[in-house]
């Protein structure tokens, strides 16, 4: 058994920032990550990170109040307003800190950090480094983590939480390089494992975005909040679903339909391409559904040609490379074929503004958490911000929590038997007959999510989808493991994670069917307006060991700063 005061699961932006905060306070902290931290999904973020710096000539009188308001309105008022205010207030400080740590932000002529317009924002407040902002921020924090000599256990697949007397005391992990399961004990665990985008078969997310941290927390009784709210990005590359940043539209790119029109004219003539993502994605999908995709097909064009080669090469070099490599299209010469795809998980582990969950010793930050600052729809540029703001806050909160503990020795027996139980579970999985192919079930589930819980939802479609998911859930009992031992056993990881992904899918599905309204990314054709009287509340999904179905509960949204209003752009 290995012990650290604090264990951070996940080495993306949130996990790194949390670990840095704890380490700087003198706490013994270690990161466990499925991939080297520099390879985390955070690095795929492109467009930028919001903060009301007021550096842009058109945004001089921007303020944290305006940032918070845009966030709340963008989230269709399901946002906890005090949390959005906190995030907007923390934002400038963490941007300057990232600059002081070497983040290669792009610059304005006066040498200040460059900012660009982004969807749903009243001011150009999205700070960026070309179109590789996530990569730059991620590497900056990896560098800081090395500088601070933070212990990193790389290529560790954390498979369950250790809980003793209702307190989280560590994790069990599969060591991918050396093989075997091992218990890591800790006085506090911070989950920072990202979203569950891979439950959909059309996603911008990395292969490791399986929601593993969410389902680990779910299985020990921690509720997941607002899981029915899934963001679909308007512009994924047609054949690979790789992200084409909102920054492309922020820089002036057009969305063009099969008739050659700027399609947003029909829907949001004022904000045009810079409407929030939920609205833009639905607009594109409506064009496709009504036969106005390119050549009547299921995509539209993201046209950057009018920006000119110089601007594309300076501001959007990354998406140009991606379009060339993955779609065979040079955006300087041709428009890019794009289509809406799953992108971000608004829901997640229910936490407060400091990352604390209902379980003592268990914290969460970043996409796997739901604070909630994104409500029903996240604004572009707020996810990178969330990772660093709430990573830092969770790290600081854990330090405070440790100070309150009198007995700092995790229970060795519980930890030891947790690792044993994990090994046993894997052995049992390997010994099974195995009449079902886990990858077929996986393909079935991801297709069900795309076909039944996508941009436009209605009761009959969702019910059919739910039935399909429960059928998959039933058949999951008949999967087995072809190979249980060894090192870098990705067959085992992909099999183990599948059952959890399926439960995340069920939380989305059950939550979505019950919520009879349209709010942000959750749009129902059979209940197509927002219903504040009945549904201005957060969904909580609890794991029920006796039923395949999650138990749903609700809690109020924190209001009080901004008045409710109709969401118009």
């Amino acid at each position: 058994m290995i012990h650290h005061d604090v264990i951070v699961v996940g080495g993306g932006l949130s996990g790194l920032r949390a670990a840095i905060e704890a380490k700087r306070a003198g706490v013994d902290v270690a990161i466990l990550s499925q991939v080297h931290p520099g390879r985390s999904h955070s690095g795929q973020a492109q467009g930028g990170i919001n903060a009301a710096l007021g550096n842009h000539p058109d945004g001089l009188d921007d303020s944290w109040e305006r940032h918070a308001f845009d966030t709340v309105k963008g989230g269709d008022f399901l946002v906890d307003q005090d949390c959005a205010v906190q995030m907007a207030k923390d934002a400038p400080g963490i941007i300057y800190e990232m600059d002081h740590w070497g983040c290669p932000f792009s610059r304005f002529d006066n040498g200040k950090i460059a900012q660009r317009p982004f969807g749903g924002a009243g001011f150009p407040r999205c700070c960026y480094g070309a179109d590789k902002t996530g990569h730059y921020l991620l590497h900056t924090l990896v560098e800081q983590a090395y500088g601070l000599q933070i212990k990193m256990y790389v290529e560790q697949y954390v498979s369950r939480l250790i809980v003793h007397d209702g307190v989280c005391q560590g994790v069990v992990s599969y060591d991918m390089i050396h093989g075997g399961f091992e218990a890591f004990t800790a006085n506090a665990v911070i989950i920072a494992t990202g979203g569950a985008g891979r439950t959909y078969n059309n996603t911008t997310n990395s292969h490791i975005s399986t929601g593993c941290g969410m389902f680990m927390a779910y299985y020990v009784g921690v509720p997941l909040k607002d899981m029915e709210f899934v963001q679909f990005h308007p512009t994924g590359l047609l054949t690979t679903q790789i992200l084409m940043t909102e920054g492309a539209r922020g820089e002036g790119g057009y969305l063009i339909n099969g008739l050659g029109e700027r399609l947003m004219e029909r829907y949001v003539p004022k904000a045009m391409e810079l409407a929030p993502r939920d609205i833009t994605s639905r607009s594109i999908q409506t064009e496709i559904n009504e036969g106005r995709g390119i050549d009547g097909k299921d995509y539209v064009h993201l046209d950057l040609r009018h920006l000119g080669a110089e601007k594309i090469l300076e501001r959007l070099p990354g998406i140009r490379d991606l379009a060339i490599h993955f779609e065979g299209v040079d955006p300087i010469e041709e428009p890019i074929p794009v289509t809406p795809v799953q992108h971000y998980w608004m829901g997640g582990i229910d936490t407060n503004v400091d990352g604390a969950t209902v379980m003592p010793g268990l914290y969460a930050a970043g996409e796997c958490a739901c604070v909630s600052v994104h409500g029903a729809n996240r604004l572009g540029g707020n996810s990178l911000l969330e990772t660093i703001v709430f990573g830092r806050r969770a790290g600081a909160e854990v330090v405070r929590y440790l100070e309150t503990l009198t007995d700092k020795r995790p229970d060795a027996r519980t930890a030891f038997s947790a690792a044993q139980m994990m090994e046993q579970a894997v052995e049992e999985l390997g010994a099974r007959e195995g009449t079902e192919d886990v990858y077929k079930l996986r393909a079935e589930m991801t297709a069900l999510m795309k076909d039944h819980f996508f941009l436009f939802r209605d009761e009959p479609t969702m019910k059919a989808g739910l039935e399909g998911l429960y059928s998959v859930k039933e058949r999951v009992k008949n999967i087995s493991l072809r190979w249980t031992g060894g090192v870098f056993n990705i067959d085992m990881i992909r099999t183990m994670e599948f059952e959890g992904m399926l439960d995340m899918a069920l939380c989305v599905a059950e939550g979505a069917i019950v919520r009879q309204e349209s709010r942000g990314a959750h749009f129902r054709t059979d209940f197509n307006t927002r219903d504040d009287a009945n549904w201005l509340r957060h969904t909580l999904a609890y794991y029920d060991p006796d039923s395949p179905k999650p138990r749903l509960d609700y809690k109020p949204v924190t209001l009080g700063t901004f008045e409710l209003q109709e969401r118009k752009y």
């Binding site: 985390s40 795929q44 090395y146 390089i177």
Partner: protein, 242 residues
Amino acid sequence: MPDIKFRLKRQDPRDKKNPGPHWEEYTVHYEGENLTVLEGLFHIQEKFDGSLSFRYCCRASVCGSCAMYINGAYRLACQTNVKHLDTDLITVEPMPHLPLVKDMVVDMDEFFAKYEYVMPWLIRQSPAPEKEIIQSPKERKKIDMPVDCILCGSCYSACPSAWGEENYLGPAALLKAHRFEVDTRDEGGKERIARWNSERGVYRCHTIMNCVEACPKELNPTEGIQWLKRAAVRRKLFGKAK
């Protein structure tokens, strides 16, 4: 798309019965128009052999996980569309000259130890300003190339100087050193310089330029290393590196 034959170099050094390298062939049938090598590997792992090991993450050429030796060249498996290889036989090997963990997975510990050794973080001596440190677009441009490194290890695996001298820091670590030395915000000074301005540092680079050829992000580590060599001389002569 016709059936594609994948020829994979397999090896599990822990397998007592068969610890050596051997080749295995799989035929991947694909309906669509595009198939990346990474998708092919997933297909093989799912359908034919669950024991196949390889690294994967972003599948969008930014995480640096899946650098492999594919049809005789360093490539990211995710970025390589088989149709661009103009052949229906795809040969995939782990990156050579690195210790093997299993199949396509190589041991990157030494690679990251050398990365860490060059002190790859911004070092400041002056107190932090209240807002950002001012850096002009021209100054920012100097770090354009090195900040795009994804630490995939291709250059390090491809470098003959690193094959011959195990203590040589190699192109990726030195490019990272260059990234900070060239950054106008950095005040690392003597501390970091001693790390790369040494026998195991820049002078082991003989401008063979394999690293440039190997880099899947089309970066130029050799250029960065030569900049460092010149900076060392400038510092000696004028007391200033930049």
